[in-house]
């Protein structure tokens, strides 16, 4: 069962990295520029992945699940607020719909799914693994690859935020990249 739980954590890290990659794909292909709340939902996704990554690196521990739970709750709050901003008929929407739902609605679904997934992993995980020492790394190659994929996408989001929003604050409804003002 411990192997299955570790596999679940590895799949979670990969799925979150793929979700961040999909957001980039929509941004660059469909020109869906992320608003401030959208960027915060991306942060929450990365932080959810962070908790799973800690499980892969240091062994499955309730504290690591707790960190992912906090991040998922934060993400649900950010996406839920954006859903409420547009829930009334005639209140408009932000961006295009994908498979019938806007990205913030999909985001809310994803955070609820993460909460449910963590609950299942905790129920079927059994006893916590003994904490691996700080120096001993028990990650296999695939887990390491998934972890670096998530880190690369988190760093790409940092660069993207600067290019889109500038150093401080993003426009509520960004029409273009901040950096384009300084390009010839």
């Amino acid at each position: 069962m411990a192997g299955l739980v570790r596999l679940g954590n590895g799949i979670a890290v990969t799925a979150i990295a793929l979700a961040l990659a999909a957001a980039f794909l929509l941004q660059f292909v469909m020109n869906e520029l992320p608003c401030p709340l959208c960027n915060l939902q991306r942060v929450a996704l990365a932080l959810c992945g962070f908790g799973f990554l800690l499980n892969l690196r240091f062994g499955v521990q309730p504290m690591h699940y707790g960190l992912s739970l906090l991040a998922a709750l934060f993400g649900a709050a950010a996406s839920g607020r954006q859903v409420l901003l547009h829930v009334l008929p005639g209140s408009g929407a932000y961006g295009s719909a994908v498979l019938g739902l806007h990205l913030y609605a999909w985001s809310f679904v994803a955070f609820v799914a993460i909460l449910a997934g963590i609950a299942l992993l905790m129920i079927f995980g059994g006893e916590p693994e003994p904490s691996r020492s700080e120096r001993r790394n028990g990650m296999d190659g695939l887990s390491r690859l998934a972890a670096w994929f998530l880190i690369a996408l988190t760093l790409a989001n940092a660069v993207n935020s600067v290019l889109l929003c500038g150093p401080i604050e993003c426009a509520d409804d960004p029409a273009g990249y901040w950096i384009s003002r300084y390009l010839p």
């Binding site: 990554l53 800690l54 934060f74 700080e134």
Partner: protein, 51 residues
């Protein structure tokens, strides 16, 4: 600001992979607190939910 949060999160993840668990958890906490503060900053519009 969001870029800084992403950067701190990524540094925390690298610290975790390098074996610095305490530092990683601290950077996670800092990122989450900054995210809450930034959400509070952006969630200033009142929600119009009455039909």
């Amino acid at each position: 600001m969001t870029a800084l949060i992403f950067l701190v999160t990524a540094i925390g993840m690298v610290a975790a992979l390098r074996g610095y668990r305490g530092l990683a958890c601290g950077l996670f906490g800092a990122s989450l607190l900054a995210s809450f503060a930034w959400l509070y900053h952006h969630a200033s519009d009142s929600l119009k939910l009455a039909f």
